[in-house]
């Protein structure tokens, strides 16, 4: 028989808010890269503006967590969930900042002619968003195995990043006039690469919720 119905209802609401925040962040990444592809400055500005809402959502969830800790004395997996949510929303907020960073680069690029058709960068964005989505599914389903699997897939994003980096480097070596434009694209790729890293941190928290053990799953290769 469920006893703490009020507390567990509130905890569920917090989890739902985290899902809502994650979907805002995913949309931000998606739109920032779309703005880059389509040179859509209006959309880029929208991403920058929307980041305020993401930041606000993070504080809202944080407050709800503090409230639950202060008033409900959560224990065991409930406690681990709340502590993990506090980390997860920080990671989400930062991924939102990376999307905002990309949008700002789009504004900087403005109407400069494109250096090259964008192929790997949209791939990186797609992969990162997919990992993010699945990490939140793993959180909902308390699925440590799939969280670990997602961390392993971060290598794909790293590979794409290295590919983009090498390619842009060769552009710059061939023609120094491309340095500014190429550097901007490297920043974009770097923002995506960092976002995927943050998804792996979210996955580590999912594993902690399920197993109670804090483990660094994907040790940094840098």
């Amino acid at each position: 028989m469920e006893i703490r119905t009020v507390f567990h209802k509130k905890l569920k609401e917090v989890r739902n808010e985290v899902l809502a925040m994650a979907s805002m962040v995913e949309k931000a990444i998606d739109r920032a890269v779309l703005a880059l592809k389509q040179r859509d400055l209006k959309l880029a500005k929208q991403v920058i503006e929307d980041d305020m809402t993401i930041n606000h959502k993070r504080f809202e969830i944080e407050e709800a967590c503090v409230d639950l800790i202060a008033t409900q004395q959560p224990m065991a997996s409930d406690l681990r969930t709340i502590i993990s949510v506090l980390s997860i929303i920080t990671e989400l907020e930062r991924i939102g900042d990376h999307a905002e960073g990309i949008a700002k680069i789009v504004l900087m690029i403005g109407d400069e002619p494109p250096l090259k058709p964008l192929i790997d960068i949209p791939h990186m964005a797609d992969k990162t968003c997919e990992m993010l989505r699945r990490s939140l599914e793993a959180l909902t389903n308390r699925d440590a195995d799939s969280a670990r699997q997602i961390v392993a897939e971060d290598d794909d994003v790293d590979r794409l990043y290295n590919q983009v980096f090498r390619e842009l480097l060769s552009f710059m070596a061939e023609d120094p006039k491309t340095i500014t434009r190429a550097t901007r694209l490297i920043w974009v790729a770097h923002n995506l690469e960092r976002s995927a890293d943050r998804v792996t941190n979210i996955c580590e928290r999912v594993v902690f919720i399920v197993t109670g053990v804090m483990e660094e799953i994907g040790a940094s290769k840098y």
């Binding site: 409930d78 681990r80 109670g212």
Partner: protein, 251 residues
């Protein structure tokens, strides 16, 4: 760390009803062991077996051992009074004698034959100091113990237990009749006491168990489901039944 007390494969029956099932529990010296579990799980019964408080109840049966420093306290020839001297108990309701503060503390040593007034004064002062109530009662030692507040009465009862110089202190819901501030004072006191004594506490208040104890045992239907470091029990219990109980998913 040494085991001060242990139960080994303890089965206990009231008449035909089995209330403890194969309970093996190690209580480490100078640590606080907390026993938690729903009402009727057997935690108070287990506590009372640790100083033979259940002896007076008719139609009980006990199988298994209860060891104090490795000796079975239920072995033939063991002096019950001696066991209770070494293993003191503090109860749920503060229960001072209707006597002065001084006499409440001096009662035990007097019963054991101590007549020397100076020695008794010393023991009263020391016990009240250790129980963190000396400053509040030192000018009123001739006042009735019943005139004290509930929290003070409970600390007086702890001091009364200490006057016998026990090695183990059993506490049966020692704060359930107290206000939050008095509760916190007792909890603070327990941290001081454990430097010298081994403490076993039964509590319905899980947060209290989490705050004060070093190790926690979870009992359910007479069975010790899980026994571990307190941070493990409340942070990452291994047994689903413990998890469900402490997160309030069953009752």
């Amino acid at each position: 760390m040494e085991n001060k007390m242990q139960t080994k494969h303890l089965d206990f029956y009231y008449g035909k009803k089995q209330v403890l099932k194969n309970v093996s529990l190690d209580m480490k010296e100078r640590q606080i062991t907390a026993l938690i579990g729903p009402s009727g799980c057997g935690k108070t019964t287990l506590l009372r077996l640790l100083n033979r408080m259940n002896d007076v109840i008719p139609e009980i049966r006990l199988d298994g051992d209860v060891l104090l420093d490795g000796e079975n306290i239920y072995a033939a020839g063991v002096d019950v009074v001696e066991v209770r001297k070494r293993v003191g108990m503090v109860f749920q309701q503060p229960n001072p004698f209707p006597k002065t503060v001084f006499e409440n503390i001096a009662f035990g040593p007097r019963m054991m034959g101590q007549k020397n007034r100076l020695y008794l004064e010393e023991i009263v002062e020391r016990s009240l100091k250790v129980a963190a109530i000396w400053d509040e009662v030192k000018d009123n030692l001739d006042k009735s113990g019943l005139a004290l507040s509930g929290g003070q009465q409970q600390r007086l009862c702890i001091a009364r237990t200490l006057a016998i110089e026990p090695e183990v202190i059993l506490m049966d819901e020692p704060c359930s009749a107290l206000d939050p501030i008095s509760t916190l004072k007792i909890e603070e006191l327990m941290q001081d006491l454990k430097k010298q004594y081994t403490i076993v506490i039964v509590t319905h208040n899980m947060q209290q168990a989490a705050r004060v104890s070093d190790r926690t045992g979870f009992l359910l239907l007479g069975e010790l489901v899980e026994y571990s470091e307190t941070s493990e029990i409340f942070g990452r219990p291994r047994d689903q039944r413990t998890e469900d109980y402490i997160t309030g998913r069953f009752g």
